[in-house]
């Protein structure tokens, strides 16, 4: 290590190498360089390139792509379509994940449940879309069960519309939201709850006045991560939804611009708008996080 390097030149003042090492730059630090160059070249550069390219449209002035996007309802409606899918799904997933994770945190053997829930995340949206096409279809087991039990007279139409995509986003999104929520909930010191219970707080009061304020920042981050995933829905919106109608999401518009019209400038503009909307929602949610308590709550468990 550098600490063991000879320091014979100290009388002439520290060498450049020693001064850099004191600030943490030495041969070991250089190990981070390849990965940093890689990320700059393949993540930052494409983003910057796409940003610049979006202002160099095929024809028209430098803002022509954005003008076209916001004047063509077939294009700007995609923002509303995507939000109309992703915001309710994210809220529903979070709303379901909170009580479930409060229950699961009491379990000793969580592993089986977490393993089952990891399945849809690892299998990915394409497989979930393909499975749901059969399962939720008019002849599928889901509709068949509902009709057999007399809950429905006619099979419901659940695929090739809004609800198909909604279902696929719940199947892949709920486990993701749940596992994130669980890690936040188990991170809170149970002694806080016990103290509240000793003082006579009911379960609902303990949740509302002890857990909820402590968990709000974690929920905000969970919401952001789940929302960003849902907002970028692509394969299931094409396979399970109506890609020309109610589930024409913004990623479909970007894909069509790039690979059907071969207008990379327009595609970059749509991708930038997509990134901007995601960023706007995330900033909005995280900014409201400042209204809640921030401080230590984890006790011994980190």
């Amino acid at each position: 290590m550098e600490a063991l390097a000879p320091t014979t030149r100290v009388e002439h003042g520290p060498s450049l190498r020693q001064r850099l090492a004191a600030k943490g730059f030495d041969a070991v630090t250089l190990l981070a360089v390849p990965a940093a160059i890689f990320s700059l070249l393949l993540f930052v550069y494409p983003f910057a390139f796409g940003f610049v390219l979006s202002f160099e449209p095929k024809n028209g002035g430098w803002l022509a792509n954005y003008q076209r996007f916001f004047s063509d309802s077939y294009l700007y409606d995609t923002i509303a379509n995507t939000l109309w899918l992703s915001v309710p799904v994210t809220l529903l997933n979070l709303l379901l994940a909170v009580p479930v994770s409060f229950r699961v945190r009491l379990m000793r053997r969580q592993r089986l449940l977490t393993t089952i829930l990891v399945l849809p995340i690892t299998l990915g949206t394409v497989l979930v879309a393909e499975g749901l096409l059969n399962y939720l279809g008019p002849q599928g087991w889901f509709n068949r069960t509902l009709v057999t039990f007399g809950i429905l007279d006619q099979p419901m139409r659940l695929v090739h519309n809004y609800w198909g995509v909604f279902a696929s986003l719940v199947i892949t999104g709920f486990p993701f939201t749940f596992l994130l929520t669980l890690s936040y909930v188990t991170g809170i010191d149970p002694a806080l709850e016990q103290a509240a219970a000793t003082l006579g707080a009911s379960a609902w009061q303990r949740f509302l006045h002890v857990y909820l304020p402590l968990l709000m920042p974690g929920f905000a981050i969970t919401f952001c991560l789940s929302f960003v995933q849902a907002f970028s829905v692509f394969p299931s919106a094409v396979l399970l939804g109506e890609p020309a109608g109610s589930t024409r999401v913004i990623s479909i518009a970007a894909y069509q611009a790039a690979f059907e019209e071969y207008d990379y400038s327009m595609a970059s503009a749509v991708a930038m708008i997509m990134g901007f909307v995601q960023l706007a929602i995330v900033v909005l949610v995280l900014a409201s996080r400042g209204l809640f308590y921030r401080g230590p709550a984890s006790g011994a468990k980190g």
Partner: protein, 280 residues
């Protein structure tokens, strides 16, 4: 832990467990539908198929050239695992052991590709790769898949390296180990469980990575999940059972690795990255 025994609390518990049960049953039934259909001779308007057969697997194998697709998939995944391991572990070592100006910025640089969804950065990335002529080739797919996996390895490995006592390395130096010997005989054995866990997670994620591969793959560089997408997209051209057979092949390739990965990592790690590390 506090246990509530009131009637309301019990009803609430029942409600929550029914919710979990409903979700898990639907999830498993969805997977069972795909598997059942892939073995069905004819399945229309009944609870179960009229007969059972395995011929869809042979037809899927031939129609979709699954052998070629599987070879490409494993080549891509293998290279992604190796390269992201080499780049990621070294960078994680530097970030775990040194404190330097701009470290937070560097960590942010590695965090962003994991937070931003692949389709958002995939389109500009694909544009750049098409301009350099890399897109459509085998290496284009590898490079695109490395963008989220290198940061993933880094962020999983940083806490793992931090918990290894630097004195162990200093001791090895005192006894005259050079950097290479230090790495082979001291660091690698200590880091192996963490590297293995991180790389298995990369493997599972890369097999299932649809968006990036889809945006840059050419006809000969498709991975299994992209081939599956095209098959479902063009449904009607092939028999449904044939596509389902392909989906089962895809599930099998993913799940084998998931089962292996779960022997080494906590399932929650697949989502929450480096929250809890196995203590070795």
């Amino acid at each position: 832990m506090i246990r509530d025994t009131t009637l309301g609390a019990k009803l609430w518990a029942v409600a929550v467990w029914s919710l979990v049960g409903f979700f898990v049953i639907n999830l498993l039934a969805m997977i069972a539908t795909v598997v059942t259909s892939s073995f069905a001779t004819r399945w229309l308007g009944t609870w179960l198929p009229l007969g059972w057969t395995t011929r869809w697997y042979t037809s899927a194998w031939n129609e979709f050239q699954l052998w070629d697709v599987l070879i490409v998939t494993f080549q891509v995944v293998g290279l992604v695992v190796l390269i992201s391991g080499a780049l990621g572990v070294t960078a994680a070592y530097a970030l775990a052991r040194r404190d330097f100006a701009g470290k937070r910025l560097l960590v942010l640089l590695f965090l962003l590709p994991l937070l931003i969804p692949p389709i958002t950065f995939g389109i500009p990335l694909a544009t750049v790769l098409y301009q350099t002529g890399l897109a459509g080739t085998f290496w284009g797919v590898v490079v695109a898949n490395l963008v989220p996996t290198v940061p993933f390895v880094i962020l999983v490995m940083i806490p793992f390296i931090e918990q290894i006592d630097p004195k162990v390395e200093a001791a090895a130096r005192v006894f005259g180990a050079n950097t290479f010997k230090l790495f082979i005989h001291v660091l690698l054995p200590l880091l192996l469980p963490g590297i293995l866990a991180a790389l298995l997670l990369v493997l599972v994620r890369t097999i299932a990575m649809f968006e990036l591969t889809f945006l840059v793959a050419g006809p000969t560089s498709q991975t299994l999940v992209v081939a599956l997408y095209y098959a479902v997209f063009a449904a009607g051209v092939r028999a449904v059972q044939s596509i389902d057979a392909m989906a089962v092949v895809y599930m099998a390739t993913t799940l084998v690795w998931l089962v292996i990965a779960l022997r080494f990592v906590n399932p929650t790690q697949i989502v929450t990255r480096a929250k809890q590390q196995p203590a070795h």
